[in-house]
Structure formats: C-alpha cells, structure tokens
Symmetry: C2
Subunit: 343 residues, 2 copies
C-alpha cells in the first residue's frame, strides 16, 4: 500500500513518518473564530468547528451531510460516540481512515448563533477558510450528501483549484419547487410554535413533516400497517409513536434558529451546472421525494462530459445515503480513485 505525497502544507508534527500505519491514524477536533463575508448578510463573525480522522499525510476527503449532520462522521479511537455516517467511514470502506484523511465540519449556523440568511456559497467559503487554517492545499475529493451536496457544488464553483473531484449525492443544482414549498411550510410550523413561545412544539412538527419527505410510502407501508386507534376521542395512526420519538430526540439537540436558517439555505441554493468545471459523480435515488431523479439528470446534462450519473433505487428515498451504505460505498470506490492504488 502506498500513499500519494501529502496534500497537507503543515503536517501535524506529532505524526512521525516511520510509525506503522495503525499508529498513524489519528483523529483531531478543533474550533476557531473567523470572519466570513456572507452573501446576504455581509461580514459576520463565525466559529468553525471541524474533526478529521486518518493519517495526517494522506489525501484529504471532505464528507458533508444533511443539515442535521455534523463534524463527527464516525466513531474512532479518540472520539468513541457514533457518527452520522457510521456505515461509510471505517476500515475496509472506501473512506478508510487508514488510507485517507476524512475531514468534516459543522455547517456555519448549525450552532444557532447566526440568525441571517445563509447561502450554500457561505458554507463553501467557510470550508476554504478551514482548509487554510489546517494547511490543506487541495482535497482529493468532496463527498457531499443532501445539503452537503449543495455545498460541494458551491465549493467546486468558487474554489475549483482546491478540490480534484466531487461526489454529489441526492442534491441538485437548485431546489425543486415542490420540495421548497414543503420546507417553507415546515418553517411555518416553527413560526406557529414560536407565536406561543413553544419553539419545541413547532420544531418537532417541522421535523416530522421533514421526515415524511426523507422517507418513502413503501417504507411506511411495511412498518406502520396497524389499524388506527381511537384514544381519548381522537384518532391516532400507527406511525405517530415513531414520529414522536424521532422528533423528541431531534428537538433536544437542534437549536431552532439553526434549523430555520439551514432549511432556508437549501432553498436559496442555485448554481449553473455548466460553470462547474470539475469531474463530478452525481448519485440519484429513484424513490427520493425531495430531490427527484429528473433534477439530477438535468444537473448531469449541464455538467456535460465532466458529469456522470449513478442511480439507486431504494425504499429509503432521500435517506438512502445513510441506509444503503454498502451500495453507496461501492459507488464511492469507483468515484474516488486513490492515487497510487490499484483497484
């Protein structure tokens, strides 16, 4: 196994070159302040929070997920709690921290401290600041899923020389008007809750509507087949227990402002695919109700010879990236060729 020359300008000094591979796999978290010139709100102080895992001298891949994802992609020796992309990052996977340095960051606004419109371009610029901070000149790849796919596109557009290729999963060059309307109504649910000083109730309902958009009728049909019940004179359907539990968990860890601003950010996203000049693999899920296959076909058409399309059919719809990890991993294996490695 051999590695390409490191893309790190300032390799972390605590990683001597001669140690065995397993000892070269480190993880680190960090946080720092910066000023970001935001597209809709002008210059703003932000805090950037990141985590990476892998050899400090390995090629770097950024992995970014949905608006609820964060910098911790998977459990590792330093940070043992489960991450949001657990099935995709680990030994034997394409995103193997023994071969690659996997970098992730908290989206700006995710801490709830930024109550202004946040553009996907702002996230891309924040990542550029982060790469400067870490001394990373160029990424081997940016793998973005859902909101992360939009950020990947913007990063490829605005910072083209800092990334070799993009993998864009379940995220198009613009929001579909139906999905945008669905999200706008979710934001109204939050606003309705806020009117009565009940942020939690509003956010819980918004999240539940969002969950419907992430999943498919096929899955609900299998899981929630039971007859409705009449409880205290009210009808309760089979999926409600599940939706309640999931929403409670979500609300406990999500600032309302963060959710609102990142939800908006999805709808603000618009790029011109023809201007994206990087090799880009686009992954579409046929059952996705939020990001229709047709929109990803349009994106690939706009990319011309630089784009290629992979289509999955999955009962998990928009959530397929998180659920169909074997199939996604196989796609990533093809999309991210590590220099110096044979297939």
């Amino acid at each position: 196994m051999s590695f390409a020359p490191s893309t790190a300008l300032r390799p972390d000094s605590f990683v001597p070159v001669s140690v065995p591979v397993e000892d070269r796999v480190h993880a680190a978290r960090g946080e720092f302040a910066a000023v970001l010139d935001m597209r809709h709100a002008g210059p703003r102080p932000i805090r950037l929070r990141y985590e990476w895992v892998g050899p400090a001298d390995a090629p770097v891949v950024v992995l970014a997920g949905g608006i609820s994802a964060n910098r911790h992609v998977a459990a590792n020796a330093q940070f043992g709690e489960k991450g949001w992309a657990e099935g995709l990052v680990g030994p034997g996977r394409t995103l193997d921290p023994q071969r690659l340095r996997v970098l992730a960051f908290d989206f700006i606004g995710a801490d709830g401290a930024l109550d202004v419109p946040i553009d996907t371009a702002d996230q891309a610029d924040a990542l550029a600041i982060l790469l400067d901070h870490l001394g990373i000149a160029q990424l081997q790849a940016f793998v973005g899923y859902s909101y992360g796919a939009l950020v990947a596109q913007q990063f490829g557009l605005r910072h083209r020389r800092r990334v070799q290729r993009l993998v864009v999963v379940s995220g198009a060059h613009r929001a579909h008007p139906y999905a945008a309307a669905w999200r706008a109504l979710q934001r109204r649910a939050v606003a309705l809750g806020q009117l009565q000083c009940s942020d939690e109730n509003g956010l819980a309902l918004a999240r539940q509507f969002a969950m419907l958009s992430y999943r498919t009728p096929e899955e609900f049909s299998e899981r929630f087949d039971a007859a409705p019940e009449v409880i205290n004179g009210r009808v309760r359907v089979a999926a409600e227990d599940y939706l309640d539990a999931a929403a409670a968990q979500y609300v406990a860890r999500t600032p309302v402002t963060a959710w609102l601003r990142l939800s908006e950010s999805i709808d603000l996203h618009r790029i011109e695919p023809a201007q994206l000049l990087l090799p880009t693999v686009v992954v579409a899920v046929e059952g996705d109700r939020l990001v229709p296959l047709a929109d990803l076909v349009s994106l690939v058409e706009g990319l011309g010879p630089r784009g290629s399309l992979r289509v999955l059919r999955s009962p998990y719809g928009h959530d397929a990236f998180l659920k169909e990890t074997d199939r996604i991993d196989a796609i990533l294996a093809n999309a991210i060729r590590i220099p110096g490695e044979t297939a």
Copy 2:
C-alpha cells in the same frame, strides 16, 4: 330518449309526467334532523343537508367528493353559484341533469357540530336515512371521489340493495400508512394553532400541507419555477403566495372541528374488499401521492370479477377528478350505463 321507471317511491308531486324534458329538470335543497347511531360515539342528533338536480322520475346517482366537497355539485337554474364538480355535471355530460337525477349531501360533521370520531360507515348510514327521507329505494350508481369513494364503499357494504353499482375514484379500502401519517401531522398543525387560540393559523397550515399531498411535483415545477426571495431577512419561495391565498379562502369557509373530524375519518376507514358484492369501477391516478395506484390495484383484486380498474396519468395527482373532467366523464360514461339508452 327514454327513461327507466323511476326509482323514487314518492315522486315529488310538483313534477307532472307530461311536461317537456327541460321543464322537468328541477333542483331542490333540503335539510332535516335525524338521529344516527354512530360507530364510535353511539346515537347522536345530526342534521342532514342535501341537494338534487334533474327530473324527479329519473334514475338517481349520488355524487360525493372530498372532505371539502358539499351538496352543491354544479350551478343550476335554482342555485346559480359554482359547485365543486362543475365540469362533471351538466348538459352533454354523463351526469346530465336532463337524464339523471344527481343527488349530493353535506357530509355529517361538515358543519362542525359533531365533535366525535366520525366513521365512513356513519356517512353511509346517514345517506340511507336521506334516501328514506326522499323516498328513493335504489340508486342507479354511487360515484364517490376521494373521501366520497370511501363512503361509497361503505354504502355498498352496508346498504347493498340500495345501489346498483359503484364508481370509486382515488379512494382505497384503507388509508395508506404514509398518507395517514401526513394527515396526522396536519391535525397536529391544527392542534398547535389551537394551543394559542389561533384556529385559523393552524388550519391554514394544515390545509397547505394537504394541498401538497393533493398535487404533484410536476405541477409545482411548471407553476413555481421562480427563484426564492429574501424578504425582511427571511427566505420566501415561489409557491408561498399561492399557498397563502388558497389557505385563506379555505379557512374562511371551513370550521376547524369539521376539518379535524373528517380528516380523522379518512384514516379510520377500513373495509374488506371481498365483502363488497357490487359491480365496482375503480379509477386510479398514477401520479396520486395520497392514494397510490398499488392500493387501488389491491382493492380491485379483492373485488374479484366484480371489480374493474381504470388508470389515469395526470399531473394533478389526487385532484385529477376535479381537473381532468373530460377524461373522468368518459370513464363515467362507460361505468354508468343508463337503462334504456344505447351507447
């Protein structure tokens, strides 16, 4: 043109048999009190409101629509305002008031006066009381769309000898678990509004989410393609003006209790298709997000030789019955053969 012997036991005395056809076309509205033994709530006083149009001695077809429909299906000489099925009832249509007597009724609970779980079986029993009141022994057909399709099924099950055939459009033998979850969340939007004594806000939001379930992404894509705007620091997407206007109109004419109880009623509906022993034409819309084609295929399979399926593909999804009126009319022409007429 000839008519079959009237099915009316007590033909209205003001319609002499010898007058020309056009003078025999009348419309009448009525309202009366009754007691209904309800499935979940026991005996309850109800008010039944109906309207019919057509010759009093013509075969009677009941037409029932979604939970927002009412007894006024189309403008006529007596009642000039537009009805909810304007494109389907009129001269030259299959539901031609010169040849058929078209009867419709307000669903029980639609006045908001019945704050208990309402079963589709209750609606069917209420219709039986209405037919007794009007002296109608048997219907030529029951054409039900959406919620009306569920009521048609229950009527066919519980009052089999009072109807010759059913036409069931966009309504299955049970709610799909995904659609049920979608409606349950809409009911929570109402509850969230009620917490702050703002019934209107909650109902408006519920209606807007419901509208998304009635229509398709294809339609939204064509109509709401404009870029989002940032207004007062908030993102507003293209469909929001439309959704606001439609919801305001809806809220102004809909009691919250009516909406809640009829929404629940859809989810309470469950019948066994094999027990439905009437000739039944099932009409499915391929793009329907609320009532998937597969569920209507199941319904038809359960009906055995009594059932037949017609499939439409329409960008209007669940609303196709109200929008694709030429195509629906053609289906009705085949489904409802008027005795004594040649095709």
